[in-house]
């Protein structure tokens, strides 16, 4: 049985549209205009035990909303979800004892106290056996290398150090399911790397199920085999990270190092030229043409080195996001156009 089962999950908010200016604010006291925001528009997903799944998507795509729904922090507008067999928004204590949510932009530790005091509070709230608590805490502290910082007030920790403490607090009760919402946001490369390394190790050792959202492609590439891309509240891809490239990009990048600085002038016939820095040229070549082009180039020019690569993942995903957004806007417009046409038709009748 799947650990996480989601069917037709929807969440929409009614948001007050405030107009600009003081006068408009006054009129807003009496008559308000609301806009329906569909944060999550019917998601289906199932995740098996021990999977490490990444949610990828632009800002406002519905990633965090989905995690909050699965944590039971908010209730959905419609649809179903079960995590470990529980309906999250029923907020059953038995469920809450078995998962954890870490949010990179929020902090749950007592700000003015050393992290160890918050840990002890967690021990009491989750009723963790004292021996098990000590063992888990020591293990986590050791893995993350924060032993010296335990006695320092949280407000005096750096962002990276604080994030490590947040992770420890969330893992003390040994959750079976872990939701991570941008755990590396704002961290420097070293801190990011440390957290990645820790998560990878911990997940492998414990075999827990993790759902991660992140904007950093590196996080995802390092940690997750399965990537779920969400855009505009819908899932647009569910599969491997490499699959994203195969599916959404139809070109490769051919890099050629010529034997001398005299570059041929007719390179444009092979594809779009990305970059020319003699003696090197980078050309975007259609995937289906790559074999032809390669033969052609090797036969006609004197070449030192040649390589064929996939386009950078960031680029593919950025264009994918842009495409989805455009499609969604178009479908919105076509809906409006259809509605307008209906109204016009009704007017004629």
């Amino acid at each position: 049985m799947s650990v996480i089962e989601i069917r037709g999950l929807r969440k929409s908010y009614r948001v007050y549209q405030k107009k600009e200016g003081l006068l408009a604010s006054f009129s807003g006291l009496f008559r308000r205009e609301y806009r329906e925001v569909n944060a999550v528009k019917g998601i289906d997903l199932s995740v098996e035990k021990g999977e490490f799944v990444a949610f990828l998507g632009p800002n406002g795509a519905g990633k965090t909303t989905t995690l909050k729904l699965l944590s039971g922090v908010i209730t959905p507008t419609s649809g179903e979800a079960k995590v470990l067999g529980y309906v999250p928004w029923e907020r059953d204590n038995d469920y809450r004892r078995r998962f954890a949510l870490v949010m990179g932009q929020k902090n749950q530790l007592w700000w003015d106290l050393p992290a160890q005091e918050s840990f002890q509070l967690h021990q009491k709230i989750y009723r963790i056996d004292p021996a098990a608590f000590k063992q888990t805490k020591d293990e986590l502290v050791d893995l993350l290398g924060v032993a010296k910082l335990l006695g320092q007030p949280v407000r005096e920790l750096s962002l990276g150090e604080r994030m490590k403490m947040e992770l420890i607090a969330a893992l003390l009760h040994s959750p079976e399911v872990l939701f991570l919402d941008e755990p590396t946001i704002g961290l420097d490369v070293v801190a990011q790397h440390n957290i990645q390394k820790f998560l990878k190790h911990y997940q492998q050792v414990r075999g827990i199920t993790i759902l991660l959202t992140s904007h950093y492609m590196k996080d995802i590439a390092a940690l997750c085999k399965r990537v779920v891309i969400i855009a505009g509240g819908e899932i647009v891809h569910d599969g491997s990270l490499e699959g994203v490239i195969d599916r959404f990009s139809d070109y490769k990048i051919l890099t050629v190092d010529f034997a001398d600085d005299r570059m041929p002038s007719d390179l444009a016939r092979f594809g779009e030229i990305r970059e020319i820095a003699p003696p090197r040229a980078k050309i975007e070549v259609e995937r289906s043409q790559i074999a032809n082009v390669l033969t052609n180039v090797l036969a006609n020019y004197s070449i030192l080195d040649v390589s064929v690569e996939d386009p950078p993942l960031e680029e593919v995903i950025a264009s994918l996001f842009a495409l989805t957004e455009k499609q969604q806007n178009e479908s919105k417009e076509s809906n409006i156009a259809a509605a307008a046409a209906n109204v016009a038709a009704a007017g004629k009748n």
Binding site: K68, A100, L113, D181
Partner: protein, 279 residues
């Protein structure tokens, strides 16, 4: 086994709050001084009022049937209940609208423990203790000076009991009002309303008379039962036990249970409509 040990968690809250208060020593001392000043000014004001009445009248001054030392017991009761509300709940209720606005309530909702308990008690305000001691001292000073009062042992049991009930009624009104901030996104003003209405509880209920007073008395006894908060425990201690006191004392029990139940219902409903905030 798996139910959280609420007492142990509460103890942890109290302990962590104390550690925190000790970190901000100056802040703590200022809190204590202002708290005591408020209590002493109250006391001083009524001492003045009684002085004036003594000067005017025939030597038997009273406010709505409360002689000076009886009224001091009333004031001590006010300070006592106030110190409990401040010590346990006030900082938390204030924090609730902030938690709602910033989305910090998310974390409270994740914990395998009653959310209302967590949100209501996580900050214990130790600076309320000197106020509590002042109230006890005032009681010890005033009670022997009340003419013709001999205390029955049952009064020693009932008084603390009614103090607790009064505290719980004020808490219920407070958390009920604060919970509306979850519903409305943020509404500090509704919580401020608590300070306006609880003002009415600080006077003997006998003063609410006549065409203006009687409706007020009805509303604040039966609809929002804040008049019983101070009046019942104060009367239990300072006035001789009498048949006329019992119905109100009985009602206070009902009012406490009712207030807690209603405020819990409001809180739970509010949690269902929690929207969280942008990450």
């Amino acid at each position: 086994m798996h139910r959280p040990n609420y007492l142990a968690v509460f103890w942890m809250f109290a302990r962590n709050s104390l550690i925190r208060d000790m970190t901000f020593r100056t802040n703590y001392i200022i809190d204590v001084i202002f708290g005591l000043c408020w209590a002493l000014m109250n006391l001083g004001f009524y001492t003045l009022v009684y002085r004036l009445m003594y000067a005017d009248g025939d030597g038997a001054a009273d406010i709505a049937g409360w002689s000076q030392y009886e009224f001091f017991v009333f004031i001590a009761t006010t300070i006592l209940v106030n110190s409990f509300v401040e010590g346990f709940f006030m900082a938390n209720a204030e924090e609730l609208s902030e938690l709602t606005r910033t989305g910090g309530l998310d974390f409270a909702l994740l914990k395998p423990i009653d959310t209302q308990f967590l949100v209501s008690l996580q900050r214990i305000n130790w600076s309320a203790i000197p106020k509590l001691l002042l109230a006890l001292a005032l009681l010890a000073y005033s009670i022997p000076r009340i003419e013709g009062l001999t205390l029955h042992p049952i009064q020693f049991i009932l008084y603390p009991l009614y103090i607790v009930m009064g505290t719980l009624i004020l808490y219920s009104v407070m958390i009920g009002l604060a919970a509306t901030s979850i519903w409305l996104g943020r509404n500090q003003s509704l919580y401020d309303f608590w300070f306006y209405i609880t003002n009415f509880s600080r006077y003997p209920m006998e003063i609410y008379e006549g065409s203006f007073g009687s409706p007020l008395r009805f509303v604040f006894t039966y609809l929002i039962p804040i008049l019983v908060v101070i009046n019942v425990p104060a009367a239990t201690l300072a006035k001789p036990l009498s048949d006329t006191n019992w119905p109100l004392a009985g009602f206070a029990v009902v009012a406490t249970v009712g207030s807690l139940a209603i405020s819990r219902w409001i809180f739970q409903r509010a949690l269902m409509s929690y929207r969280s905030a942008s990450s």
